[in-house]
Amino acid sequence: MPDISSEAREILAMLKERHNVLLSGPPGTGKSRLLGEVARAFLASQQAGPIHVPGAPVAIPKAPPVVATQVMLPSAERTDRKIFRTVFHQNSKHREFITGLVPVVGAGAQGAPTFRVVTGTLYTASEHAKTSQGASLLIIDEINRGPAVQVFGGSIVAIESDKRLAPNGQPTTNTQVFELMSPANGDLVEYSLPHHLYILAAMNQADTSVEPLDVAFLRRWMPYHLEPNESVLRNYFGLPATAKGVLPAAPASAQDVFEAATRAWVAINERIRIGRGAEMQIGHGVLMGGAQVAQDLPGALRDVVDSWKMLKAHVDEVFFGDTRSTAATLNIGIIEGHPLTLVDTTFGDEARLELVGSGLPGVDSIYALLRAIAG
């Protein structure tokens, strides 16, 4: 198994014990990265690619540096390991997840329409995990963007860890059965989920176009929450571990620009947390867009201008229609010399507030804006 992050190790351990893990967190906190990392680790026994361990005496070791990780690998003894992926959306259907009927146009006698049974992602992953050496990791992204309770249907109780089949495939006294349509003949048959099937789902609680998940559904999952993490950003940009001193009036280096951007991001998140709730914050990924960190001042300014567009769009969405809260989040009116101002105006006979100077800043003005937001 390749060496992996502590977060991925925790999730693997949770999958091994509880079978179903629900990953949540604001956008940009690394959910997608973590899903991919857990998937790669799950397939570890099939991976032959070398792993770079920076600063180690052997930079590309033969054996995984953390052998103990193997202990955390679900169904480690199984060699035929597969990843199954799906993304829920508003039109996700039970038949696309378990089994069900779909029409087949023109396939019947004399071109008449007929039906056939299709197998969905959960069923396919389950059948693989029932083979002699099979182990399946089913990854469901955006689980709350679709009607999850309907999609799972009768399988929702059967996914629970203690209601699966035993590791040898035999039912136990606790094994839960549910009915599904047999792919062989379309009959309703009783079905149980295997021990060697693991489900890792991810969701973003802050999205506006999501379906609510009820408590009965949620309690069948082991929760794992990701938070915006300043230290990840500081490590990424090569900044000191904590903010020190006052930001200079003008940037002298790329480091100054990234320090201002990091402080502004921290300040914005803190204000969002107070104004709208922690789940509406934005993750560190919003500032980590480029493949490489710019080393020169112009490059750093260009990078943060791009990041600012996404950061500002998030603030606008969170406080949509609430100009005063947007202004408070951007620290407008608190310190002198802020590039943006909040002014009273009118629309017809009605009083309105307007942010003046809120056009997208360029490389010449972004630093002053970030510095003002950081406060």
């Binding site: 690619g49 770079h52 052997v58 930079a59 590309i60 070791p61 540096p65 090569g238 493949a291 080393q295």
Partner: protein, 193 residues
């Protein structure tokens, strides 16, 4: 720093000799031609330009003297990454330049003494020394060193140590050093031998 471990896309390797070590220490080079001091050179240029285009994905026009006059040349631009003593990630721009007049056929990374990882040399009593420029899954490039003894110890990933040892063991003239690359994405390997 186990959480920093990552998969690898490509490795460029080059045997490091006495003259290179002096470049890392900013003590010029052995040649009396005047050019190329503190440059790390890769021959043949065309072969290494291909792999460096993947390591350093951006380009920039720089002014250099060619044929006695100022000329615009296109250089490949990327960055080297490393962990400092506090285990914090650091990086600095790095470039790969086309050949100079005195050394046609050689691409080069200039000013190698500017990068701290080039000064973290392995012990000199462990056989020949090899520089590795490792491009990770996230496309960042990290300089590391290996020694011949270490590569033969069995501690290194076989998919890394075998191609490099094959290159070290190949017959070549006394003025040539082992060099090449391994591209794990395309499966292509190149060695001068």
């Amino acid at each position: 720093m186990p959480d920093m471990a990552a998969g690898i896309k490509r490795i460029v390797f080059k045997e490091i000799v006495e003259g290179d070590l002096r470049k890392f220490e900013a003590q010029s080079n052995d040649a009396d031609t005047g050019g190329g001091a503190r440059d790390l050179r890769f021959r043949p240029f065309e072969e290494f330009q291909t792999i460096f285009s993947a390591l350093f994905p951006n380009t920039r026009i720089e002014t250099r003297r060619r044929g006695g006059a100022a000329a615009n040349v296109e250089v490949l631009v990327g960055a080297f990454h490393w962990l400092d003593e506090a285990q914090l990630r650091q990086s600095r721009e790095a470039i790969f330049e086309p050949p100079t007049d005195p050394r046609p056929g050689e691409g080069r990374i200039p000013m190698v003494h500017k990068y701290p990882p080039f000064n973290r040399l392995p012990p000199t009593n462990e056989g020949r020394m090899v520089l590795l420029l490792i491009q990770r899954d996230d496309d960042t490039v990290w300089p590391e060193f290996a020694t011949e003894n270490s590569l033969r110890s069995g501690d290194w990933a076989v998919s890394v140590s075998e191609p490099i040892l094959r290159s070290l063991e190949a017959q070549r003239n006394t003025h040539s050093v082992a060099r090449g690359y391994i591209d794990y994405v395309t499966g292509r390997e190149y060695s001068d031998a």
